[in-house]
């Protein structure tokens, strides 16, 4: 009996198919529009493109510096990923294992900033960057995200979950803290580090407000800000605009499809997007 039941398609498909459709239609419609001609988007009711008009992508690519924007986004997000992995590991380890003067107070200070929304501090952050003479530059985009309190917290919790005996033998033998971290602990840090890498990359790549506030020249814009300026320039040319939107999302979409497991686990275990 149970075998016939499993062969018959489950009734859940009646719910799941419309659900998947609602979630995918916006993205599919972006793809279809990006392959239509301008005239085809000015019909009512709308229909499918008559042929695949790839020239929209060419046009978007040539009309705006998408290559520069994508490169800037990649540079900024990868720098932030690497610096977070390194510095959050160091600080997380120190806060978990070493007692030094003021360590508790410092850690509480870091935790406190975890609660502060960026919108609350963006004006002073801009003024600080201004004092450093870095407004409208790539370093300005990197600096506030160089180390995140969330990363320090995540890795401290991870180190606290490890038994201290792992390191004790090495420390008795005279190994330094850094050696212990690099030789003994690093091989165990795959899961928390991949989580931190995924989340840092996503948040920096998709960030809009800080780039909007701190950059103004097209040469230093990230792709999200670039896309919003592209939108203002082509707001009725839907095929070209959709081609540009799709191009701007492609790197993250490809990464997501390739590493869906990591993305889902990272978000599910930390509850951060």
């Amino acid at each position: 009996m149970s075998t016939t039941a499993s062969r018959r398609p489950s009734g859940w498909h009646l719910i799941l198919v419309p659900l998947a459709l609602v979630m995918l239609v916006p993205l599919l419609w972006m793809l279809l529009t990006s392959l239509s001609t301008l005239a085809e988007t000015r019909r009512f009711p709308p229909g499918l493109p008559s042929a695949l008009h790839w020239q929209n992508y060419r046009q978007a690519w040539l009309q705006s510096p998408f290559a520069t924007w994508l490169l800037n986004s990649a540079l900024v997000s990868l720098t932030c990923v690497v610096s977070n992995l390194v510095f959050c590991s160091l600080a997380g380890y120190a806060f978990a294992r070493i007692r030094f003067a003021g360590s508790k107070l410092l850690f509480i200070g870091i935790l406190a900033t975890l609660m502060v929304p960026f919108q609350v501090v963006m004006i002073p952050t801009l003024l600080i960057v201004k004092h450093l003479g870095l407004v409208d530059s790539l370093p300005a985009l990197v600096l506030p995200n160089l180390v995140t309190p969330f990363g320090v917290y995540l890795l401290r919790q991870f180190f606290l979950s490890l038994p201290a005996e792992l390191e004790e033998a090495a420390i008795v033998d005279g190994a330094g803290r850094l050696t212990v971290l690099a030789r003994i602990l690093l091989p165990l840090m795959g899961p928390p580090l991949s989580t931190l890498a995924v989340l840092t990359f996503l948040s920096v790549w998709n960030d809009f407000l800080w780039p909007l506030v701190v950059t103004s020249s097209p040469e230093v814009m990230t792709v999200q800000l670039g896309l919003s300026t592209f939108q203002s320039a082509h707001f009725t040319n839907w095929p070209v605009l959709m081609a540009g939107t799709l191009m701007s999302q492609l790197p993250v979409l490809v990464l997501f499809l390739a590493g869906q497991r990591y993305f889902v686990r990272s978000i599910a275990t930390t509850g951060i997007k």
Binding site: Y93, G109, Q119, L202, F208, L253, F256, V264
Partner: protein, 281 residues
């Protein structure tokens, strides 16, 4: 070992909080040195009709967005927690918007909801319903923003709920089945109550994020038409970077921070489960 982190977080995390607070008692145009203003900014805030409006919009947005997203995410997670053929595809479809940027979401929905050529109006007219102005209608713009952001956040909520559902101990469900509990009964009576901490977390997280709404509004409506989508953070942005009233904007930021902190505390207090607390002890 902690020096780099402490330096960066001190300069870009802690110092701006203090500075924001100080700035809210000053007049500043971001260029010339700031002048002391005392309570002038806060006094002005109390009598600013646009600020009052923006608070109303944020409240309406939050009151709609949070419950709708929360309930929809739970139901979607329940549907995704099935061992049916193609479930990996269904999950993928639901999760993709999680990685779609707010800017892209805004651009795509501007096109979907285009009053003249948008696909949503085409569907409405096919169903014999009147066509709508969506983002260009002062009555509908805020609700259109709600619909768009619900689409953007359901995947996130469902992902968190799904992880929670999957961590329900199998023995509990088996025991319920032996006791004659239906599957739906087990879902509502066993799995949903067990999701309480997860729901509490999502409630707080969605509320914080909806009070911070900015990107989607900037991309779709720029606060319009007729201020109908000017939410608090959008007004803050306008005051700081369009009108260069940075002190005034800082006062808005401080009020926002206080409200977010308060709402979070109240929600956490209310969602604390007395049974669970005693069980843990």
């Amino acid at each position: 070992m902690v020096a780099p982190s402490v330096l960066v977080i001190g300069v870009f995390g802690l110092a701006p909080v203090v500075w924001s607070f100080v700035l809210s008692f000053q007049h500043s145009d971001l260029q010339t040195p700031a002048r002391w203003a005392g309570l002038a900014n806060y006094r002005q805030l109390a009598h600013d009709p646009v600020f009052t409006e923006s608070v109303q919009h944020s409240v309406v947005y939050t009151v709609l967005f949070v419950p709708v997203t929360l309930v929809a995410s739970l139901l979607v997670a329940a549907a995704l927690n099935r061992r049916v053929r193609g479930i990996a595809f269904y999950r993928l479809a639901v999760f993709v918007p999680v990685v779609t940027s707010t800017v892209a979401t805004g651009v795509i929905f501007t096109w979907l909801l285009d009053p003249d050529y948008g696909i949503v109006n085409a569907v409405l007219s096919k169903l014999g319903l009147p066509q709508l102005g969506f983002f260009s209608s002062p009555q509908l713009a805020l609700y259109s923003v709600v619909a768009m952001t619900v689409w953007g956040w359901i995947g996130f909520g469902a992902l968190i709920f799904l992880a929670g559902l999957q961590s329900t101990p199998d023995e509990l469900l088996e025991a319920a089945q032996i006791d004659g509990c239906t599957k739906a009964g087990a879902f509502w009576r066993i799995q949903v109550p067990l999701l309480r901490p997860v729901s509490a977390f999502l409630l707080v997280w969605l509320t914080i994020n909806s009070l911070q709404l900015f990107d989607e509004v900037y991309v779709t409506t720029k606060g319009g038409p007729l201020h109908s989508t000017t939410v608090v953070v959008y007004y803050l942005y306008q005051q700081a970077f369009s009108y260069f009233h940075a002190g005034y904007a800082a006062a808005i930021a401080c009020v926002l921070f206080a409200v977010i902190a308060l709402v979070t505390l109240v929600q956490l207090r209310l969602s604390r489960d007395p049974d669970l607390e005693t069980a843990r002890r």
